[in-house]
């Protein structure tokens, strides 16, 4: 039924990204239960944990690639990034994501949506509006790197991750049926312009007065608008461990409640409704109804109906794929170090000035943000970085190169090292020579390394990551690193 109706709007693709590291909650409890024994009761399962070089921007790029694929013909009309952990308060983060995705910046609307746990659902509604108005495809990516106070319950619960949705009118896999939003200044937690961490109120009050009151009222209002019965809802997305109670209060069957991923991901904040939706879409069937909720100073409720095309569109890996790529981490100290929670002796080698020279960063953004090199129009030699003269000794043509995208290109490790002398936030520093499929080679950092299988000859793909953090000025530099292609992939 989906493809026949041209005026419908809805989800056209979905994808996700979860960091490879999975911090075992037991490790958090073991380190902190001396102080708060109640943490032992929460020490079940694992949560996703950013590597030191991951943040909301880098994960957003990965989630978009998972959603949109590496080879795209058309440019979306808009890219909206939702997060409450944006690395930059004033430098539009969605622009960095757009450049890393090699989108055409000359013709795209970008926007960061933030400051609420429902920023992603609000962003999704905005994306739907834009797509409808512009009659094109809009991207919503939600991403969170959730830094928390040591020994807090949030440290136990929260995880890091990202999910992306494209919306539009072409190849709709889940059409928008209706939406409803409710704004109320219910302060379950807050973070101010001067604070680093959330200040959180008691869970019982949030549940009873917040989730149990605000959400059912809004969902019921939405269902009334549409004339759809609560019991006909097939999937109910609520990022709260009391989702079953909430469903019951509305009349939604308990089997419709979507897994909160608390056991293996944790609560990824603003990204979580989209992450849960992305997981839900992996197994949704044509005709099924999905209610997505976003909670925070009120709520957004969005109702989708799955179309026949759902089975024709899959993410590259999806939530399930990334769930399978986890690597257990039991080192709580490493988690704290990666999240900048320790006053630590990083050694004198870490003290080198890391100033970013912004005019040079701007001039080289094609290389730094988009990982573009050159292809010689005279001899077809592919090269990165792009210099004025062609690198082929038999060609040597001046200014003969057109842009060549390396971002989605796989490579092969020709030589490598694991360096314990140089400064690295996660020693040893792996770097080496990578030769790309189709041509070109470059000395690159490796990240997310599995030392047991790392060697010459292995296949790698390129990821946008933090290259260096300038603590003196609060700046972070990004660049591309090579990651071994998983054997599971």
């Amino acid at each position: 039924m989906g493809s026949k109706i041209n005026n419908k709007i809805g989800i056209t693709a979905y994808g996700a990204y979860l960091p490879r590291l999975r911090l075992q909650r037991k490790a958090i409890a073991e380190a902190n239960a001396w102080f708060d024994t109640s943490l032992n009761a929460l020490a079940r399962g694992e949560k996703t944990m950013c590597n030191w070089d991951e943040d909301a921007v880098t994960m957003a790029v990965d989630a978009c690639v998972d959603c949109m694929g590496k080879n795209r013909d058309s440019n979306p009309v808009a890219l909206i990034m939702a997060s409450t952990s944006l690395p930059f308060f004033d430098r539009q983060n969605s622009v960095i994501v757009a450049e890393a995705l090699n989108l055409n910046g000359a013709d795209i609307r970008t926007m960061d949506v933030t400051s609420s746990q429902r920023s992603a659902t609000s962003g999704l509604l905005a994306a739907l509006d834009i797509a409808a108005m512009a009659k094109g495809e809009a991207v919503l990516v939600a991403s969170e790197h959730r830094r928390t106070l040591c020994a807090s319950r949030e440290e136990m619960f929260n995880g890091d991750g990202a999910a992306a949705i494209t919306v539009g009118t072409n190849f709709v896999i889940a059409e928008l049926v209706a939406s409803h939003s409710h704004a109320v200044d219910f302060i379950d937690h807050y973070r101010t312009e001067t604070s680093e961490f959330d200040y959180v109120w008691e869970e019982r009050w949030i549940r009873d007065e917040g989730y149990m009151n605000i959400l059912p009222a809004a969902v019921t209002t939405l269902l009334k608008k549409t004339g759809i019965s609560a019991e006909d809802i097939n999937h109910f997305v609520v990022q709260n461990d009391q989702a079953t109670k909430i469903a019951k209060a509305i009349g939604i069957k308990s089997t419709a409640v979507v897994d909160t991923l608390m056991n293996n991901v944790g609560n990824t904040g603003a990204a979580h409704p989209i992450l849960m939706l992305a997981k839900c879409l992996e197994s949704a069937n044509p005709g099924e109804l999905i209610v997505v909720t976003g909670f925070g100073q009120g709520c957004d409720v969005i109702l989708f109906r799955v179309t026949d095309l759902i089975r024709n569109k899959r993410p590259t890996l999806g939530v399930s794929g990334y769930l399978n790529l986890g690597c257990p981490e039991v080192n709580y100290n490493k988690y704290q170090s990666f999240n900048g929670l320790l006053q630590k002796d990083f050694g004198k080698r870490s003290e080198t000035d890391k100033q970013a020279y912004l005019p040079a960063v701007y001039r080289h953004r094609d290389l730094i943000n988009s990982f573009k090199g050159g292809k010689c129009t005279k001899c077809n030699t592919i090269q990165i970085p792009k210099h004025r003269y062609c690198i082929n000794p038999d060609c040597d043509a001046l200014d003969s190169q057109i842009d060549y995208k390396f971002a989605g290109t796989k490579g092969c490790v020709k030589s490598w090292t694991a360096d314990r002398l140089t400064f690295d936030n996660n020693p040893p520093a792996y770097f080496g020579m990578v030769e790309f499929e189709g041509g070109g080679q470059m000395m690159l950092d490796f990240t997310d390394v599995d030392p047991d299988i790392f060697n010459t000859g292995i296949e790698v793909s390129m990821r946008f990551r933090i290259k260096q953090i300038d603590n003196q000025r609060g700046f972070r530099k990004y660049f591309w690193k090579a990651v071994q292609v998983s054997q599971n992939k």
Binding site: T352, K354, A360, D419, P428, Q441, M442, D445
Partner: protein
């Protein structure tokens, strides 16, 4: 067609400071120590020096910008002094400047001096530093052992030599140099080591262990050059002449064009080919008496034996283990202990090698003197395996 440098310039005198952790010394003290020895050896007054070239790798840590450190430190009489930097080959660059000045006839006598004060950084290894505004945006956070270690991983993969066997050969390189270093009072490290110690040492950058690395030291070395005619007029005999002086610099092809497999240093091969031609050497393996090469890491020395066409490609490990490059082998390498035992004050190393070669050719190398050396090759390498500058100086009678 250029006539080349062969026999146009001779070394009139040379000097070298004690290398090591010279906590008591500034760069100035190191320079004066080497310079005074050099002046005495040359038998001239410093007012006879027409021009000077200074090699320093990282001036921010050592001497500051410009060439004032040499001019002021040695109190030179308002002569032209030029500071050059070309990675770890900076001393060879200074030497090239001085030699060219004499060969051109612009100067009768010129000084080349290399100096580096590195031990004030507060940590081991070469300083962590910027690679330039643009490069810093995309270079990995490299270290020298990390980059040169990749010579070993690539060499092992391409030549099908197991890392175990390659590491044994690399260990032999270090053991040999330490044995030589025990006979050199100016070396930083003067202790013998065993193959077992090398193989069991802590890992620095896979697969390079602690004893695969040269040390980092403070030091200075210098040479005064002139024409053979002037040297003879001063009563000098047994002249040590420059037979060849070549330099080759990477142009980015090894780094970015897929025609380099990572197992060799291309500029070394280019510079060696030109240098042999300039010196008239047809069979280096038979004609060279000895080499001082840039053994920043054991694997660097090993592949350099191939790049200098002394070992067949893929056969250096076997030759090393067969003792070809030992003190009693066919072509002794690092008879003074090398970078391995002297450590590597970046801007001084090339001239330290020339100093040893000069002593050997004059038969003045005391306990480590080789029997009747005739032709010696100095190889000084700067940069990284995939992007570097290689210098070759051949000295002889």
């Amino acid at each position: 067609m250029a006539s080349g440098i062969k026999d146009k310039v001779v070394i009139l005198g040379a000097g070298c400071s004690k290398f090591g952790e010279r906590w008591d010394c500034d760069a100035e003290d190191l320079m004066v120590e080497a310079f005074e020895e050099c002046l005495n050896d040359a038998g001239i007054d410093k007012k006879q020096i027409d021009a000077a070239w200074q090699g320093t790798g990282i001036d921010a840590y050592s001497v500051g910008p410009g060439s004032l450190s040499v001019s002021v430190g040695l109190h030179l009489p308002y002569i032209p002094v030029t500071k050059v930097e070309n990675f770890c080959a900076s001393a060879s660059e200074a030497f090239r400047g001085a030699v060219y000045a004499v060969a051109s006839g612009a100067c009768d006598i010129a000084l080349a001096l290399g100096v580096e004060k590195l031990k004030d950084t507060g940590y081991g290894g070469l300083p962590q530093r910027t690679r330039g505004v643009i490069n810093d945006m995309f270079y990995p956070n490299i270290s020298a052992p990390g980059l040169f270690g990749q010579l070993a991983t690539a060499y092992s993969a391409i030549h099908g030599i197991s890392m175990h066997d390659l590491k044994r050969a690399m260990a032999h390189v270090s053991v040999k140099s330490h044995a030589n270093g025990t006979k050199n009072p100016k070396a930083h490290l003067q202790k013998a080591i065993t193959e077992e110690q090398v193989l069991n040492a802590p890992m620095i950058a896979e697969p390079i262990g602690l004893f695969d690395c040269c040390g980092v030291s403070d030091g200075a070395a210098c040479a005064i050059v002139t024409t053979p005619e002037i040297a003879r007029s001063m009563g000098k005999k047994d002249l040590v002449k420059i037979k060849a002086l070549q330099l080759s610099t990477s142009n980015g092809e090894e780094a970015g064009y897929c025609n380099w497999d990572g197992t060799f240093i291309k500029p070394t091969r280019v510079a060696a080919t030109k240098a042999y031609k300039e010196a008239g050497i047809k069979n280096p393996r038979k004609e060279l008496s000895m080499t001082e090469v840039h053994d920043c890491f054991s694997i660097t020395e090993l592949v350099t034996m191939e790049d200098l066409f002394l070992s067949e490609i893929g056969c250096a490990a076997k030759d090393v283990l067969d003792g070809v490059y030992d003190a009693d082998g066919n072509i002794p390498c690092q008879i003074d202990g090398g970078l391995k035992c002297f450590g590597h004050p970046i801007g001084a190393s090339g001239l330290r090698m020339i100093y040893e070669m000069y002593l050997q050719l004059q038969g003045r190398a005391e306990k480590r003197q080789l029997k009747n050396p005739n032709l010696g090759l100095v190889h000084n390498l700067g940069g990284y395996p995939h992007m570097n500058v290689a210098s070759i100086v051949i000295l002889g009678h």
